[in-house]
Symmetry: D2
Subunit: 206 residues, 4 copies
């Protein structure tokens, strides 16, 4: 396989990229100067050397001092509210939630659990979450866990599984388990809302 084919195949693995766009990326890179390609090549190589997975929340972050850091900017920030733990599916969720002004801590689960899977996939960090909650719970540091899963079938499936695992701990350690409110999202019109959303919006009316 030649180097154009090879790079096309690597770009096809990128999220949301098909064969045609992968090929356009390669043509774009071919039309650039070699210096620009070396820049990009170096930036990709650097990514692993300058980033680390946070020991606490498991999201990826950029290290300012390569030798020492093990905590991301949020977990290492003493001003954050350590009593509230927001469980999210993936790193990108955290970036989006930060814009809403949330001030607690996060735990990045790594994904949702497929409906068909008999056991929890390796990339979903349920084991790591239980350890984390066990540690924080023992230290009486935890008051609330927010289950921030997507409002999808797979998100709901994962949420129910986590609730089952966490419920005994919540009683032992005395913390709440909450889920994000369901209802009308910004821009919704009642004429087009699904019955489920209307029911939820009625339940959470205030």
């Amino acid at each position: 396989m030649d180097s154009i084919e090879r790079l096309t195949q690597l770009f096809e693995k990128f999220p949301g990229i098909g064969p045609r766009q992968a090929r356009r990326f390669v043509h774009y890179l071919l039309s650039e100067r070699q210096a620009a390609r070396l820049d990009l090549s170096q930036a990709i190589r650097d990514l692993g050397q300058h980033t680390a997975q946070c020991r606490e929340c498991y999201r990826w972050f950029v290290k300012t001092d390569p030798a020492k850091e093990v905590l991301c900017g949020i977990c290492g920030n003493p001003a954050r509210d350590r009593a509230t733990l927001f469980i999210v599916e993936k790193d990108a969720d955290i970036e989006n939630i930060e814009r809403s002004g949330f001030k607690g801590l996060y735990f990045c689960l790594g994904g949702t659990i497929p409906l068909a899977s008999e056991e929890i996939p390796r990339y979903v960090r349920v084991h790591e979450l239980v350890s984390r909650v066990d540690r924080d719970g023992s230290a009486a540091a935890l008051k609330e866990i927010i289950l921030g899963l997507s409002a999808t079938t797979e998100g709901d499936h994962t949420r129910l599984l986590l609730q089952e695992k966490l419920l005994p701990m919540s009683e032992g350690f005395n913390f709440k388990i909450t889920s994000l409110g369901r209802g009308l999202s910004t821009g919704s019109e009642l004429e087009y809302a699904d019955p489920d959303t209307i029911q939820n919006a009625l339940k959470t009316r205030a």
Copy 2:
């Protein structure tokens, strides 16, 4: 103007229909037999004779006895919970909400109030709503008004205006004013949710 042009113009007034689709409607009718056109013509003519606007909720309904009925099937149903009044923008909202299992009564406002308008448009039945609430409130029959406006800027603007009007009455007559819960609607993913929706989902978490 010929009859093809004239009918095209009338179809162009239909919601969501542009000139091209209006014309396709006319071609479709031309390709049908005259009997089919007379059927449609009659059905449109009948609409006004067999329907009435409910004296209570202002939605349109089909009369089974042309002489007598003045109440729609919901307002005339003694089994509905008369203590809860759900204010909606339009008739189509009611049909959709019914699917979610709501058992109270409705009031059809007729539309939302544009942000720019200096006074409340004639088609928005704020005056009629105030009369209705005054009557039901005096009879101590009302416990809750649910403001079921769309989660849009214009919906919010209308909601604030109604709250202002209804607040003094709610104190005098001792009923609650609530709004539909905001949060994640079915299918929402956190990565793509707007900050407003995330804030609301955090506020209504449970």
Copy 3:
């Protein structure tokens, strides 16, 4: 079935209209005054009385004198070039082609022939076309038939069938049978053109 349901069902038969939009049409009509509904009802009723199907090209047109006319404005116009006959699928095609400046006559086929159908559907006027061509051919009035079918599989299937039928007549009466040129349509980019279109564009290069 009540008159709202009934009218909804009639609107669902309109081209491109589903149950939800059919219902919105009914709500729109309900919100109008009775006078507006009677206008629409009358316009639909009038359609059949003021229109006729052209005896020559089979398209629908508006009669100015109800008693007499049998030819549409194009077929009845002595200035049109009677030597060129443009076969089209439907009335709406003619309106669109007129904008391109074509000055000959048309014949409206009524539709395309489905690939699976063992015989030609009744609504496709192949028999009428053959009679027309026979008459015009005998009179030595015809120099060219343009087959203006869509560039789709069903359009091509219909085109081949018509060519087969018309070929013997074209030899007997000495007229040409042509098809619309295939190639790049306005706005096409070569990167995204299908191989078929590129082949055609190469064949018709000039």
Copy 4:
């Protein structure tokens, strides 16, 4: 700027990629193993070392022998028809045209000339094209130049400019200048075709 930000910015320069998708690419790479990132980094670095711009047609190709090759697989193939030169805008056009079975040679122009630009942009290889045509024309090797520009306003503008430049040479060297046929592209329906496309389809009817 940290390495996540930096890489996000480099991906934002990719064709069709906005800030959100650029960020998803970085998250995807972060979630991969370092070995996968090094693979990608190397493939991008290799691109410039294993590829060259063809001396004849100016498209990029993969060298099998890094030391020697100067011609791409098409220009270096003695079986191709050297009498026909297909002028295209960009490399991706060639890959697409090859699927249609064209057997001549190409010249990759590098882009189209913007309507507003007072002079021909540096990346449009008009000068190189003129040299090429001069050489092939002198050798009496050229019988036809096909102008394969997009059927867009900018494509037409570029085509007219090239015709002007090439016309005197075509007379001197006795070759034809042709343009791709315009007409219905595969899938077109007459009802929705623009007047320009219908006019072209009528002109190229056969």
